[in-house]
């Protein structure tokens, strides 16, 4: 672990590296995240209650405490969404409370305008809230009194829902998460510039004349950058969830794990790009040319669902897609074990990029 240790030493000692590789990424990603999530409480939510039960009126009050609820007639809903009078509309159908109490799968209807996706953080919040209601309903065993007591306790924060399982979500990417993914991708690739620095100073070539194998050199670099990434993501989540109290889904740890895994995949991608780029400028160009389409096709900038099927299928071969899927599912309550497929794919991408970056030694040293 000699390279790992010396890299950590170099980064900690070099204030510029420390600033660009640790502090600025945390600052910018957090601020961007906060900025894109800003005004969540100012969102105009249309709420139509067809059920008219204590539960549905309680839900209305609950949402009103967090968001601006706008009165809207059902027949004018489309126009209100298009005109921007409401950002998102929720309809509680008749029989919703009955279904909840009977333990059946109860659904609400959500309406959104595809031109506007500022409501997405709200949707995550709503999903979490609805799942909590569903779970309390199931656990109450049909006992209305127990149900309302538990719901009240939940809303007062006396107990927390730790097991939130969504059923049939139609939600896709969440914009702020997309930007978080973008930040991780760019800054992970950027972190590998330390290798480019070694190449420029020819230390890289010199190290390869020692008994150290290229793969081990790269692996130790990945470990070093992963440690940085781990600290960065942890700090970002602390800032975003802890300081700014933005809704980050039911499990911050699961979210952290998915983001960290994607960070490792991005670092591996950076390792493979380093083998292509001969200097920092070319590396920056290659990074932009590769990362931007990956983010577009992976659904970081907009929901993948709005893209043609062909592009959606191409997106399946891009790690961003699986990171976004994983993040969405975690935000909707899935546990990390539920995400085994996404996790496996991200690990496979990491290995693939690592091998691509290290397999042709001759080109690396020419």
């Amino acid at each position: 672990m000699n390279i790992f240790r010396s890299n950590i030493k170099r980064i900690l000692r070099d204030r510029t590296s420390l600033l660009f590789m640790v502090i600025l990424p945390v600052f910018f990603i957090s601020m961007y995240f906060v900025a894109t999530s800003a005004g969540l409480s100012g969102l105009k939510i249309g709420f139509i209650d067809r059920d008219q039960t204590p539960l549905s009126t309680g839900m209305e009050a609950h949402l009103a405490s967090e968001y601006v609820l706008v009165e809207v007639e059902e027949e004018n809903l489309s126009a209100a969404l298009l005109d921007g009078e409401v950002d998102y509309a929720v309809i509680i159908p008749e029989g919703y409370t009955r279904d909840i109490l009977e333990g059946n799968h109860a659904r609400v209807q959500g309406y959104e305008s595809l031109d506007n996706n500022v409501y997405r953080p709200f949707v995550i919040y709503l999903e979490s809230y609805l799942e909590a209601i569903q779970t309390i309903g199931r656990q109450s065993g049909g006992n209305e009194e127990v149900f309302y007591q538990a719901l009240e306790a939940y809303e007062e924060g006396i107990f927390q829902m730790t097991s939130v399982q969504t059923g049939n979500s139609t939600l896709h990417t969440e914009r702020s998460m997309g930007f978080l993914i973008m930040g991780i991708l760019f800054f992970s690739i950027r972190s590998t510039s330390l290798i480019m620095k070694d190449k420029k100073s020819k230390v890289f070539q010199r190290i390869l004349t020692s008994p150290l194998h290229l793969k081990q050199y790269m692996l130790e670099n990945i470990l070093c950058f992963s440690l940085l990434m781990l600290i960065q993501i942890a700090l970002i989540l602390v800032v975003v969830a802890g300081v700014f109290r933005l809704p980050m889904g039911p499990s911050l740890i699961n979210l952290f794990l998915v983001l960290f895994l994607f960070g490792v995949t991005s670092i591996s991608l950076g390792i493979s790009l380093v083998s292509l780029g001969k200097d920092q400028n070319r590396m920056a160009t290659i990074t932009t040319l590769i990362a931007t389409p990956m983010l577009m096709l992976g659904g970081a900038f907009w929901p993948r669902a709005i893209m043609p099927e062909l592009l959606q299928n191409i997106g399946r071969f891009i790690p961003v897609t699986w990171a976004m899927e994983g993040v969405e599912r975690v935000l909707q309550g899935s546990s990390i074990t539920d995400l085994w497929f996404e996790v496996l794919i991200l690990i496979a991408f990491s290995l693939l990029f690592f091998l691509l970056g290290t397999w042709k030694k001759e080109e690396v040293v020419q």
Binding site: S201, K202, Q205, R206, S210, P211, E362
Partner: protein, 310 residues
């Protein structure tokens, strides 16, 4: 045998960097690889170090095939690259320490070897300083310390004196000799003829990926039919002296210049006694006679038709 290369070929696209090259280097030598930039010296070194793949040929380093025993052989080799391959953001000690670790040294032994290597290159008192504050010569010396800290059997020094002051250059050349006296075989690729001539026990001249001549410097000089030159230093030489000197059969040419009288004679036909006698007979007082012997530059020029700095 430290290095045994047979029929080695390396191509970059259409260009042949190493062209059916054969070379053998014995233990204990300081072996000079002399050739202009682009002759294929660095490609040959990269092949020896396993950093570049060759198309064909056979190569053994320290009696072992590199392909099958890469890391085992690499532990016995020290490399001083042409470029200053050092970490500017680690101290001199940390740089040497890192390379000691890469070559498998640990604990007290590593510490001692690092101190020893820094002492050897004269940087012991600067060990806590960062190389970015070092002069070019000091950086070059640190480069050497990083290569010898693990006490290799073979050290490859690829133009270790590029861009440094004469004092540092002399210090480095002396350190090369000292290392060799300790039993380390040195391969010294360079295009500095004077350095190669001064320190190397055997020399191979490379051009266009081939070894075009090899041997001791005396053997190489024997390869060419070179006219030796002498400059006679006398006060105001006149036509009488010139005519008298021209009468000496062995002299091919006599010219009077500002420096003195330039005399040219064939290799091994040095008519010094007769020259002195004529100077005396003509009534001149001899102030000196500078004899210019053939050097490796002349050898290279004769063999390739170009100079080493082309």
């Amino acid at each position: 045998m430290v290095l045994n290369v047979k029929d080695l070929v390396k191509r970059y696209g259409e260009e042949t960097a190493i062209d059916h090259l054969g070379l053998s280097i014995d233990e204990g030598e300081i072996f000079g690889l002399l050739g202009p930039n682009g002759a294929g010296k660095t490609t040959l070194i990269n092949s020896v170090l396993g950093l570049t793949k060759t198309e064909s040929g056979h190569m053994e380093v320290l009696g072992k095939k590199l392909a099958s025993n890469g890391n085992g052989v690499k532990k016995e080799i020290g490399v001083v690259p042409q470029d200053l391959a050092i970490y500017e953001d680690l101290t001199a000690y940390e740089n040497v320490d890192l390379f000691a670790s890469l070559y498998g040294l640990k604990g007290q032994q590593k510490k001692e070897r690092v101190e020893e290597a820094l002492e050897f290159v004269g940087l012991a008192d600067k060990k806590k300083q960062y190389p970015k504050k070092f002069s070019g010569g000091m950086k070059r010396r640190l480069n050497i310390a990083m290569a010898i800290v693990h006490q290799p059997k073979l050290v490859i020094m690829d133009e270790p004196t590029v861009g440094i002051d004469p004092q540092s250059r002399n210090q480095i050349l002396e350190s090369v000799k000292t290392l060799n006296q300790r039993g380390i075989t040195i391969i010294y690729p360079s295009h500095y003829m004077e350095e190669v001539e001064a320190i190397c026990t055997r020399i191979a001249i490379m051009d266009r990926g081939r070894i075009i001549a090899r041997g001791t410097k005396e053997e190489l000089k024997q390869l060419i039919d070179f006219e030796e030159k002498g400059i006679l230093l006398v006060d105001r030489p006149g036509e009488g002296l010139k005519t008298a000197l021209k009468a000496i059969e062995e002299l091919n040419d006599v010219e009077i210049s500002q420096e003195g009288v330039t005399l040219t004679w064939g290799k091994g036909n040095q008519p010094l006694t007769r020259i002195m006698r004529i100077v005396d007979e003509q009534g001149y007082q001899l102030k000196g006679l500078k004899i210019q012997e053939p050097n490796l530059e002349n050898v290279f020029l004769t063999l390739t038709g170009k100079t080493l700095r082309d």
